[in-house]
Amino acid sequence: MTKHFLEIDNLARRFPAKQGELTVFEHASFGIDKGKFVCIIGHSGCGKSTIMNVLAGLDTPTEGHVFMDGREVSGPSLDRGVVFQNYSLLPWLTALQNVTFGVQARWPNWSKEQVREHSYKYLDMVGLGGGAELRKPAQLSGGMRQRVSIARAFAIEPKLLLLDEPFGALDALTRGTIQEELLKICDATNQTVFMITHDVDEAILLADRILLMTNGPHARIAESVKVDIDHPRDRSSIIHDPGYYPIRNHLVDFLVRRSKELSGAVAPETDAQAAGAHPKIVNPAADATAGNTSAEHSAA
């Protein structure tokens, strides 16, 4: 097994229930390399958020381990920045103070001026400034709040960025704009990102790889889909990429049909994943073009 920057090894989370216990997910093993953007897709209740919480160190897995940079993850750390679905800004602080909150926690010895300068750099990066940064979250639109939240997460310069459905509560237009901004920032900073989403198009636009989860309980990561589309990407041109629709069809087919068919517990001896193997890698873009042209695909 090759060593990845982030290594998730046979993770499982079970909760005590009335009869025995409830297994939310099990046999989850995968790796993320440095600078890669990985999305995870699955229906509600499959344990995506639980995996995210384990990675963030906010929850402890029942079985399995998480290693980052060769060290086991135990408890929350500033090495992992989290953007929560509901922004989680502190409402009594201004947008700027919410960012400096993170920066001060990261570099407690910095001077006030240094903290301010650093915070403004990241607020500018997400397009917030000109007075909006001095307002409280309640006075900002949903899109602006999520920008602040993203700025706070990037400002602590984490080794791994965890995004829990960050655009779920936004309207489609705002979502599109912030997705593109996030894409630009990630390309520029070579940030390693793990993101939960429900949105297939969002996943294809942003991710290098998409993990597909079967329905819970006993959810598993069934496949790892390679998004074989070159960077830089943008929303308007990505849909013309020959790989786009094969990938999209594969994802939709999985969500609509196969996630249900594959759900349920699997006997360990019939499932290679139970032994800690990584999910099967599929490349719908390459499979689709293999038939007609022999176009070369750069490895993502």
């Binding site: 963030a56 929350p76 750390s77 989290v82 929560f84 989680s88 009594w92 409280k136 309640a138 602590i156």
Partner: protein, 276 residues
Amino acid sequence: MLQSLNVRATLVSLVMLVVLLGIWELANQAPAADKPLTEYEMLMGGADQEARVPPPSAVIDLAVDELSNPFYDAGPNDKGIGIQLAYSVYRVLAGYLLAALIAIPIGFLIGMSPLMYKALNPFIQVLRPISPLAWMPLALFIIKDSEASSIFVIFICSIWPMLINTAFGVAGVRRDWVNVARTHELSALKTAFAVILPAAAPTILTGMRISIGIAWLVIVAAEMLVGGTGIGYYVWNEWNNLDLTSVIFSILMIGLVGMLLDLALSAATRLVQYQE
């Protein structure tokens, strides 16, 4: 100008005040004498056969008189209204601040720790419904000082709303905000001050506002009991003097000071209020 709700409300208030005072004034006029008064009748206060509630005009006269020199001190039984109120406010604030000093940290503890909540809950449930004045004999016996005893009574009555509201506010801090503190590796102390305290502050301040109201209610009764100084003592003393004009005047002053205390706390609440 009549469009403004505030202006109209003020007008209605004024009309009601005038009507009320008018009824009060007219209902308490001494009947006019239909024949010349005897010397005895004049000595006993006119032709009136029964005592009447003093009319507002008498109260206003007294108020002007008292408030023009509120801080005079002519011996133990004749002090200005300002001095009496100052004694009461001092006792209330002393007992109240002492209570805050203890209630807020313990409330924090109870709010943070389910174990401490369960362990302390029976004590709180039993001690809370006790009328603060019921503590008075015990306090007098143990403390052996009437001044300190009345402060203790204020302490014991204002501690509960603050304690319960602090615990409630701290326990109800949104999980997300605590998670923000955790993912930023804040220490327990830093989390308490930077996240939980500001998050729970509106609830804590609400408890403090309830407490100051109760403390001001209780101080009047406590001072009637211990005597010596204070607005409660003043009310009872004037009752013993059968000076009902002073009694009514001091009742109004109690209301006024209570309102000011409440306004101060509500202003403080607005300072820490945040919009989610």
